[in-house]
């Protein structure tokens, strides 16, 4: 559709009037009324982006720590305890690896079982995880890429073969362990039988390294051994309790599980089955956040509605005159809707960009605020002979994350942008439509009396 020259002139006129009303009598670019409407949406949207990014960052980090350490799919024979031994597991391993092809990162035999840890007089229950580490030189095991970060010896990716264990950093801190220290593990030996019960097995291990997943339960409760050592400890020669699969893309869990089901005849459990409550909680949190996001935007848009209503109310008489001069309903609608719409869209778009910028630099911003507070605090303490304890907005000793995790969800931002545009149209359109329906005779009659 092409606009005629006259229609284009009328459109330009309507936009010019709209801008003049938005500016009002202000010497600046916008009237206070229009500016507050814009500012409300801008602040609302940018804060929303920051909150969602930090929240998303925490969720992603949490998920990552779980997906990094736990196997993604576990294949067992015993449906109830998962402790039935699987003999001939290398054959199954090859079958599964061939069946999954590029989907899987690793397929391994594994033993995971509860144990009692003894360190001098201290006893605690832990989980032993036997991992089939590859070896390159016959003396050392090489830790695979997916294995969590080794914090001590920092950056090391090998451990000696033999009776060596890797424990989490939190366990090391709580037990006062150092590299080279000994711990004892007490485990049930062989398989449980009703007639003979279970025979305990006690064995001493030297600490080879400390790992850190960022997940407290793992870092304080898991002892990692090589699979060979674990098999000896549990008296399961050449057998494993489960075959574990790690995926390249954990989001493909459901699809890969279906593929595995065609190969593996017994029980298949995924990390999501194991951590069902945790993932359900994450999903619920996300849903609640989405609802809050929506309410947040609605609240910001109420500002646009109020601003547009105020503008219409302040120019009621003008509407009557403009209509008497031949302005159509569409012109009046445009005059009053375009300002509110522009404030809403501009506020949302700039708010999204500002929010992304702030989220990316949030840690620096918080550090700057922290430094400022502490500077004045120390100054006050020096002069007032008082004690000042430094404020820490991001406590470095908080366990889970050593930096503020930020995850900007661009898909969510796109949705936010689209929803903002739709709401801006409604927020500005509803009062403007009302204005366009005013009859000039009613307005002029009221004004005359």
């Amino acid at each position: 559709m092409r606009l005629s020259k006259e229609s284009l002139e009328r459109l330009k006129l309507s936009l010019a009037i709209s801008y003049r009303y938005a500016r009002g009598k202000s010497r600046y670019f916008l009237s206070l009324n229009a500016f507050l409407a814009f500012f409300g949406v801008f602040i609302g949207t940018s804060l929303l982006v920051v909150v969602m990014s930090v929240f998303g960052g925490f969720q992603t980090q949490l998920k990552k720590s779980i997906f990094q350490f736990d196997p993604h799919i576990m294949l067992t024979i015993d449906r109830i305890t998962g402790s039935e031994k699987i003999t001939g597991w290398p054959k199954w391993k090859e079958l599964i690896r061939a069946g999954l092809g590029d989907d899987c990162e690793a397929v391994e035999g594994s033993i995971q079982s509860p144990a009692i840890l003894r360190r001098r007089k201290y006893l605690d229950h832990v989980f032993v995880r036997g991992i089939d580490f590859p070896t390159s030189d016959g003396k050392n095991y090489t830790l695979p890429d997916y294995f969590p970060e080794i914090v001590e010896p920092a950056g090391s990716r090998t451990i000696p073969q033999g009776d060596f264990a890797i424990v989490g950093r939190e366990m090391a801190l709580s037990l006062g362990l150092s590299i080279g220290d000994s711990i004892e593990l007490i485990v049930p030996r062989g398989q449980f039988s009703l007639t003979t019960g279970v025979t305990p097995s006690i064995r001493s291990f030297k600490i080879a390294a400390f790992f850190k997943t960022g997940h407290y339960n793992y870092d304080s409760k898991v002892v990692v051994l090589s699979l060979k050592t674990t098999q000896e400890l549990y008296a399961l020669p050449d057998a494993v309790q489960q075959i574990v699969v790690r995926l390249k893309d954990p989001d493909q869990l459901a699809q890969v599980k279906r593929k595995v089901a065609k190969i593996w005849p017994a029980t298949i459990r995924t990390i999501e089955d194991e951590q069902r409550n945790f993932f359900a909680a994450l999903r619920l949190e996300k849903t609640i956040m989405m609802v809050i996001v929506f309410l947040f935007i609605i609240a910001a848009m109420v500002g646009i509605v109020i601003a547009t209503f105020n503008m219409v109310r302040a120019h009621r008489r003008d509407i009557g005159i403009l209509k008497a001069l031949g302005f159509t309903r569409q012109h009046i609608l445009l005059i009053f809707a375009v300002t509110g719409f522009a404030m809403g869209v501009l506020g949302s778009v700039l708010g999204i960009f500002a929010g992304v910028g702030l989220a990316n630099n949030l840690e620096n911003v918080l550090h700057a605020i922290e430094s400022t507070i502490n500077f004045f605090g120390r100054l006050y303490a020096e002069h007032g002979q008082a004690y000042w304890a430094d404020v820490r907005l991001i406590p470095r000793d908080v366990y889970y994350f050593d930096h503020l995790p930020i995850d900007i969800d661009w898909r969510l931002l796109r949705v936010l942008g689209i929803v903002s545009v739709i709401l801006s149209i409604l927020a500005a359109g509803i009062p403007a439509r009302k204005a366009s329906r005013f009859e000039p005779i009613d307005i002029i009659r009221k004004a005359e009396f």
Partner: protein
């Protein structure tokens, strides 16, 4: 000669709940192009109602109004009304109703701009008419910066700038003091005569009525 305005059997009534007040009771008259007509009558006689119907600000119950080849009836559409107001009539009200955020010049440009006339052309025409009504020195002033008399003359300039077929003025001097009233009548009469404008004015003021070439008296909804 075909009259510019032909009103035939015009009826208009208002309803307030059960009560129906018949304001105009079958009015008919004609006005030729270039005529200056004053409509007089007591309060409540229906003068303003008649003027609003002539300017398509309101719709008649029955009867027709024909202005320069366009007909207004009770069945007129919204689009026809918009075009009629835009092209055929210019209004002057008792209050000037200038838009406060716009300068005097911009106010007078509005009727031309809504017709789709480019800005520069509209600006030249508006400046010319403002000069003629004695406001050449007030072009860039806001309505709040000029006097009531000047505002009313600017409103008159806004009504005539697009050279409409019909100019309708409802008590245009009602809010003016004697000096400004005289000035307004002088400007109105001069432009009407020079440009052969067709003007219908509703007024209580004898001074303004006497400036008209014809006077109609409206009593109890009928022309006397």
């Amino acid at each position: 000669m075909q009259p510019l305005l032909a009103v035939r059997e015009l009826h208009k009534s208002y309803h307030d709940g059960e009560i129906r007040a018949e304001v105009l009771k079958g009015i008919s008259f004609t006005v030729n192009a270039g005529e200056f007509v004053a409509i007089q009558g007591p309060s409540g006689a229906g003068k303003s109602t008649l003027l609003n119907l002539l300017g398509a600000l309101d719709k008649p119950d029955s009867g027709t109004i024909e202005v320069d080849g366009r007909t207004i009836t009770s069945a007129i559409t919204e689009q026809e009304i918009d075009l009629f107001r835009r092209d055929k009539v210019g209004f002057v009200f008792q209050n000037h109703y200038l838009l406060q955020e716009f300068t005097v010049l911009e106010n007078v440009m509005l009727p031309l701009r809504v017709q789709g006339i480019p800005k520069e052309q509209a600006m030249a025409a508006a400046a010319e008419i403002l000069n003629r009504v004695g406001l050449g020195h007030r072009l860039q002033h806001l309505p709040s910066q000029i006097s009531g008399g000047e505002s009313q003359r600017a409103a008159f300039a806004r009504a005539v700038v697009k050279k409409p077929a019909l100019i309708l003025a409802d008590e245009p001097t009602g809010n003016l003091d004697s000096e400004n009233r005289a000035k307004f009548i002088e400007v109105l009469s001069a432009l009407q005569e020079q440009d052969q404008l067709t003007v219908i004015v509703v007024t209580h003021e004898q001074e303004l009525a006497q400036a008209a070439s014809r006077r109609l008296h409206l009593r109890d909804g009928q022309l006397g």
